[in-house]
Symmetry: D2
Subunit: 287 residues, 4 copies
Amino acid sequence: MKRPKDTIIALLHGPDKRGLVARVSGWIFERGGKIIDADQHYDRVEEIFFQRIEWAPSDEVSDCREETEEFIKFAGELNMQVVCRISSAKQRVAIFVSRYDHCFHELFLGQNSGELPCEIACVISNHPDLMEATEGHGVAFYHIPVTPETRRKAEQRQLEILWEYGVELVVMARYMQILSETFLKEFGSPVINIHHSFLPAFAGGNPYRKAYQRGVKLIGATAHYATAILDDGPIIQQDVHRVSHRRTVKDLIVLGRMLERRVLLQAVRWHLEHRILVYGRKTVVFD
Amino acid sequence: MKRPKDTIIALLHGPDKRGLVARVSGWIFERGGKIIDADQHYDRVEEIFFQRIEWAPSDEVSDCREETEEFIKFAGELNMQVVCRISSAKQRVAIFVSRYDHCFHELFLGQNSGELPCEIACVISNHPDLMEATEGHGVAFYHIPVTPETRRKAEQRQLEILWEYGVELVVMARYMQILSETFLKEFGSPVINIHHSFLPAFAGGNPYRKAYQRGVKLIGATAHYATAILDDGPIIQQDVHRVSHRRTVKDLIVLGRMLERRVLLQAVRWHLEHRILVYGRKTVVFD
Amino acid sequence: MKRPKDTIIALLHGPDKRGLVARVSGWIFERGGKIIDADQHYDRVEEIFFQRIEWAPSDEVSDCREETEEFIKFAGELNMQVVCRISSAKQRVAIFVSRYDHCFHELFLGQNSGELPCEIACVISNHPDLMEATEGHGVAFYHIPVTPETRRKAEQRQLEILWEYGVELVVMARYMQILSETFLKEFGSPVINIHHSFLPAFAGGNPYRKAYQRGVKLIGATAHYATAILDDGPIIQQDVHRVSHRRTVKDLIVLGRMLERRVLLQAVRWHLEHRILVYGRKTVVFD
Amino acid sequence: MKRPKDTIIALLHGPDKRGLVARVSGWIFERGGKIIDADQHYDRVEEIFFQRIEWAPSDEVSDCREETEEFIKFAGELNMQVVCRISSAKQRVAIFVSRYDHCFHELFLGQNSGELPCEIACVISNHPDLMEATEGHGVAFYHIPVTPETRRKAEQRQLEILWEYGVELVVMARYMQILSETFLKEFGSPVINIHHSFLPAFAGGNPYRKAYQRGVKLIGATAHYATAILDDGPIIQQDVHRVSHRRTVKDLIVLGRMLERRVLLQAVRWHLEHRILVYGRKTVVFD
């Protein structure tokens, strides 16, 4: 059954073809739909066409899922790759966290205020510290310690939990462990990470210390999709904060918290609103 | 004759109608055109639809002007208001300036570097100071002093010059006189002004002094279209710069220069690239 | 008894006198103290000298309070006004809040993480909504409804609570009521407010709606000390966020939340670290 | 002879010693001087104390140079390294430039407007393109082509010119050649370079292309002192500009121009106002 005000959001990409905008908008028009928002981008170097289109189906459409399936078929005929979502469907998100809790709290605040249209399905941590805070939100907490020896087994346990909850997105909220290539492959869905530097500067550990030692005048934070190579995945959002010579490493850590929270929240929101298309090492963000 | 690589840019707006995107893109598609860029916006409060669409006409189109005229007719049938431009056509711009020369130099630098796709047709000033600098660029300079008594006559002289040069845009580059409602009406084309504050804060004279006295922590600059009401026209671009209690009024003036230059340059560039649609007191900027 | 690592922070201001820096630093030096940080500012227009100086007293000083009292006497001899604090002494803060909870949560997060060196003594609200959240932090919550008829009585009740808890700072965390001049006078200690606009633009109610209607390209937030005149007190911190024509009033409200939280947190932190000196309508912030 | 309103600026650094602030300010006080501005910083990791102090000598001081020499002697007694300048003394600057002219013009505009308190002594370029523009400012232009074979000889010629003009600062305004370690040593005075990335990201050639390929969401510019290692010297100033997936490499180059100009201008201004102290790979900027 179609709920009131449901819209459909499609993210398309593929080789550029003349008339694509006309054909997609024509398809919606002919079925009595109303385009709410449409944004497109053509990468002239890679010769790829990207489109995000959101429409309200005709009042006669009783089931958005059916309309969605029809559109996916149509996109296939156009030789376009497509992801299609009904606006009211909330994604199930898992938070991976260690001890730093600022990003963890930010995500819960964002979810509670409605800024993040998702359901936080569970929290997984290699430390027990945030158990009480998680359960206070009525969310299941899993303490899975990780050592070099137990990593494989720990990741297997994590995957079982993600599958059990039907998790569609993992957010690494300052989770201080690296997820293996195997894990990422088996999970198969996106993982967003927040790195506390302006990538590609200061990838890896202790970025604030490195920033301090290099004497940079701005510190940064980067939200990106996790890939098998550490801190190398497609960048979603970045921001910076001005610092002076007066700031110690400890100051940078404190100032960076606000930056990390802001950048991560925005990246997760864009993802949940289906505004991001990944290709190669880059993202298109239809904001 | 169509020059190589010429594209057509159309700015449309009007009451929202279902199928508008489909019909516009369909029109281009059917004539063998290729959409380079398309951006649209629907203002749900005012119920107005806006679109900027840029396309390369079919190779068989020998004259872009003809295609342009056809499109204007078509837009009329859709009940949409439209402005249509051929990409290679450079607009003729006049600079109004007084004594502060930083915005004046910025515009010439921008024009020389190709960042501003325009021709600077002439410079009009109420002071003779920038005559030599203007003529050094091979551009005509008109010194037209303005006093309360001579304003009317001075504006008449200004209008004659603008008409003589076929000026399509006036840029007030810190021109320290107010252009009357009569002038604006008779000129009939857009006038962009740079105001040295974050409007609507500190409209009118001496904004840096007012900012200093109020103790603000950020100073600003605003580029807007001039209207009959001072510093009240549709805002195109704004930016700010952080200041501390250490800054004197004189410091703010110096720091503000860079801000004013940057904001004005960007606003004029957007205008020349046909990225701005004005409605009521607001602008849509398709960046 | 002196606790380890205690330092003393003095905020001085008064008419400029030659040799002031030399005399203050000399006083500390002679008593065996070590200057940790010193910052000064001279307002050439108002002819006022400001200084923030932080020092570690000699190891022989067994009681920082005594050293503090000696310094206050000394400052009096110099004809300077002075506020003196021992670094480890945590101020008692009361939060005033209505229904919007983002600033409320931000303050608790900041206090928990140590970023805000204070004790949250109590929360006072004209709505019961945040009672549970407050008590979850182990903090007393007072629900004091306010109507035009009961304002006077309500404020009297608020004052009694503030006195009872020995509150030294009130933070209005989007408290949607105006505190009367009488209240501010009787309380006698500072009150910090967050206003959701770039003051002096859009003072008063509904600033995001006003910003939307004016078509500004940046929205702002301002933290300031509350005075008897609404949104007119000395500005502590301001920041802005870029917005486009695509943003609705509702979007501005959501985007503004992060801005308000950030600006308020920073202002409260500076206040608690004794970095702010107020004079007239302005602040000196020794960051 | 002391000119009216001359002040003396001293930049000191050395091992921290108790009483340093007291002794320096005491020295000035005793000689009847008036401290205009004083800023200090203590690096707790490196245990180095930094101070910038500006004072107006007593009216009885007829020659600032003498006062300056006395102060240098006094600083030596304190075991502090010191650089001392009379405020009205303008430094002689040489601009090194290739073909990109935006930074070149920025420096001349800054010098003309008084923002850069210096004299532009000469311009040296490996291309003849900017000869006319330079000579139009009444400044000598030297065209010194550089090839891998002639580099040594070219640098020798450059040094002779710098010595001839008594140049105290070289500004590399997008000079597309690397200055050798030998050159830097023999010149002996500071060289400021502008690099068109947010260092340490994208050091070396083609940073905008690299930024585009990595898909960063902010581009940057960095002004730093040149050292023997490319793009590795102490950072003076950095800034960033937001970019979207729509921007091509060419767009980044255009957008970056404004960024480079702004960052370079600010760095050169701070240097000329004696606000920068270099230690190791870092700078202290007393802004």
